[in-house]
Amino acid sequence: MKNNGSKSSATKMLLPKCPTGIQGLDEITGGGLPRGRPTLICGGAGCGKTLLAAEFLVRGAVQFNEPGVLMAFEETEKELTANVASLGFDLAGLVRQKKIVVDYVHIERSEVQESGEYDLEGLFVRLGHAIDSIGAKRVVLDTLEVLFASLPNEAILRSELRRLFRWLKEKGVTAVITAERGRESLTRHGLEEYVSDCVILLDHRVNDQIATRHLRVVKYRGALHGTNEFPFLIGDDGISVLPITSLSLNHLVSTDRIATGIPRLDAMLGGKGFFRGSSILLTGTAGTGKTIISSNFAQAAGQRGERVLFFSFEESPNQIMRNMHSIGLQLEPLVKRGLLRFHSQRPSLCGLEMHLATMFKEIAAFKPHVVIVDPITSLMELGTVSEGKGMVTRLIDYLKAGQITSLFTSLTQGGHVLQQSEAGMSSLMDAWILLQDFEGNGERNRVLYVLKARGMKHSNQIREFLISDHGIDVVDAYIGASGVLTGSARVAQSDLEKAAMLASQQEAAQLKREVERKRKALERQINDLRADYETEALELRRIAEQVGTRTLLLGTERVASGLLRQADIKVAATGQGKRRNGNGIP
């Protein structure tokens, strides 16, 4: 069985590992615990040592077909069975199937009297018998240190323990030994002296009234391992360790684009909306409409037939649905059709890690296309900035691996200076839309702009958006000399422009009328002049006629007088012949 003799060999990566099956732990340790060697798990009271050890054993029996022996020094078989049953492990069933042997070792100090020399062969016999009876590959000793309280002679105990670990190695079983955390050392009784291949430290810390468990691989001889402190949690299905960077950056990406539900916003994002599987950050101060935009996004996805998981940390599902109703968004039908699921929880209900685990579980169960977290900031407030960022990183990694589009809203405290958490988060986000208030003229107006959108052409303009009975309307904001004009100022500006337009139109019309009038006046003048002229011409003709008549008359009179005088009769007679009927001859 024992196949890894030399520890100094250069074949680091070839060190055989024994997978624990515990989510995340195998990733940190690069495949599991050292096979055929003992591993020490130490930690304070209630940090999950026994559960970790029990899970190692149960998963070994169930998933890897490696039977195991659990030697319990603290809890009886019945207690253990009940305790691990809460994690969904059927210990009693596995015992019946001969996959696991539980041996409860108990010595009451008051009932034991020492007389002369002894050794702990009895323990070896029991363990050996248990291992051989089912062909066990894994052994858990929980918690061996109880023996220090039960047996009076520590010198014998120590030498026997040393022998025990050597014996376990010779047996070739992968052993897990749990131990209480000591004040100065890793374990109370210095067990780390004997178990030096792999040491895992568990820790349970309370920060701001919220407890978080941490796991750290202190030592792993002959193998590379994650040295950080990793948060872990105990959920309904056992322990999950959450490595900060559980995935390398190699997710598949999609060129598929999905609409936001707000046509003008899509237009700002190159006309097509966000990339599928991208992470979107929506930041804004209170009341800037983050939830409304999120709900729009949810509705748009639901109408495309995609599943949406909405994590709400501020409002209950019913409240969101009612509020969205007021702007004409109907979310209930989507909920009824099973396309939209709400998950509402108070952030302070549990620690960050527990929230994260719950979210992972919900996501795994619902398999959504779109995940909305509203707001992510109330979650991040539960931990320190780095914890919060770590959490978001893990969440985004997880979502990206499944090509799930994620929308996170972030509540900012106002002002234009970005907060540290936002600045930290921004590098994780593919798109960032900023919602802002503009205050002025005794009113507050909402504007939005696209701060960044990786991989697509996007509008650089600030747009105002209006929330009305029929949803969101994004309109162009006026940009004047004094900055962006929004709200009534925008309307006023618009009115002003309209008035100016009207005025110039009126002016033009006035001018036209004037010209017309002038033209008409001119025509009138021309007509007058012509009339004058005609009158004068008429007068002239009349005068001319008068003159003619007078001349004729004069002639006639002369003829007449000539007649009278009897002179020039012939001349007068010819002239008189034509004008007989004229003035006549009196």
Binding site: S115, G116, Y118, L120
Partner: protein, 109 residues
């Protein structure tokens, strides 16, 4: 079954015979330590419990499954089954004083 029963031949005069002492000696193989323990136990019983004791020797090499029942860890171990309550003495029984205390034959000092 390599259990040896040793019943005292003489009938006890000082103690009522009803109060029979049942002792189990757990050993592993017949090592010198085991043999010493058995010898020590026999000598002790002859001295203090003459006629009212019964010793059962259990070799865990042959019957390892029996170790669980009496919660045996140390070898050798003597378990007093009767009279109640159960008493456990670990070691090769070389220390007679401790054995007397352990078997409630003498109050602990």
């Amino acid at each position: 079954m390599k259990t040896k029963s040793i019943k005292s031949r003489a009938t006890a005069k000082r103690r009522p015979p009803a109060k029979l002492w049942q002792l189990r000696l757990y050993v592993l193989d017949s090592t010198p330590r085991s043999q010493a323990a058995l010898a020590n136990l026999k000598r002790f019983c002859e001295t203090h419990l003459k006629g009212i004791y019964r010793i059962t020797v259990i070799d865990l090499l042959k019957q390892p499954q029996l170790a669980k029942g009496d919660q045996i860890l140390a070898i050798p171990t003597v378990v007093r089954q009767l009279p109640k309550p159960v008493r456990t003495i670990i070691g090769n029984l070389s220390n007679v004083e401790n054995l007397l205390v352990g078997l409630d034959l003498r109050p602990a000092v």
